[in-house]
């Protein structure tokens, strides 16, 4: 299996004020690297509006935006560390908001071959010290190593 991570998609100190900005910045990188089609941005923005993905990770808010597989060329996960928290609506409960600091943007071609990926991502969200390390990663390589070591 090819790697689900690319150093160019480890985005440190992402400066954005709105959900749309966060998603567009990350999606633009995915498009530039050829992992997704141009239609991915619109799809992920619509998805997020209809089915929000903010989750209360342990110690800090996390979002896991994703879109239909038809917009994806090759599976990959982009990671965005936000300079300032951005309010996402909570998954399953649009009346609540989450101050999101870490974004895992999932571009997945199909679900079942990535089951362990999703499982380990959920474990990361529940791991306070690991989330802290991810949030505070100083370089793209550090962040890539943290992700590769914990997402299999």
């Amino acid at each position: 299996m090819t790697s689900l991570f690319n150093p160019k998609l480890m985005v440190l100190d992402l400066e954005a004020n709105t959900v749309t900005e966060v998603l567009t910045r990350l999606s633009d990188r995915l498009i530039a690297e050829g992992y997704v089609k141009e239609s991915f941005t619109q799809a992920i923005l619509e998805r997020e509006t209809e089915f929000s993905t903010g989750l209360p990770g342990f110690g800090r808010g996390v979002a896991i935006p994703h879109a239909d597989p038809e917009h994806v060329n090759a599976s990959v996960i982009a990671v965005g560390i936000l300079r300032n928290p951005v309010q996402f609506k909570m998954m399953g409960n649009h009346d609540e908001t989450i101050d999101v600091e870490v974004v895992f943007m999932l571009a997945l071609k199909e679900s079942h071959s990535h089951m362990s990926v999703l499982q380990s991502l959920m474990d990361v969200i529940q791991n306070e010290s690991l989330l802290k390390q991810i949030k505070e990663a100083a370089t793209q390589d550090t962040l890539l190593q943290l992700m590769s070591a914990n997402i299999a």
């Binding site: 998805r47 990770g57 409960n93 079942h112 999703l118 969200i125 529940q126």
Partner: protein, 97 residues
């Protein structure tokens, strides 16, 4: 015995519903209900047409449409907190003890 059927739905049907479904399958196995429950996944868009074939829907998505079977919010299984009352609700709904 006829298996109980649980449908897990999310926005795309490929991410969180699959993660929650796997988690539920593991919990059912641990509790000795592995052979009694069948867990399927779908998108929220498919949920309405499929609902009547299931005993229960678990979803991670905001849902305001009325469904023919009970709908339980399953986000707790993603974040690993507050799962116990949700699980109890699921087991009670399925009549598993």
């Amino acid at each position: 015995m006829i298996k109980k059927r649980v449908l897990v739905a999310c926005g795309t049907g490929v991410a969180t519903s699959v993660a929650v479904a796997r988690k539920l399958e593991n919990i059912f196995k641990e509790r000795g209900f592995g052979d009694l429950v069948e867990v399927s996944t779908c998108t929220v868009a498919e949920m309405e047409s499929k609902a009547s074939k299931f005993d229960l829907i678990v979803t991670t998505a905001h849902n305001s449409k009325p469904m023919p079977v009970k709908v339980i919010m399953g986000v707790a299984f993603l974040i690993g907190r507050g799962t116990e009352p949700v699980l109890q609700d699921i087991l009670d709904t399925l009549g598993l003890k």
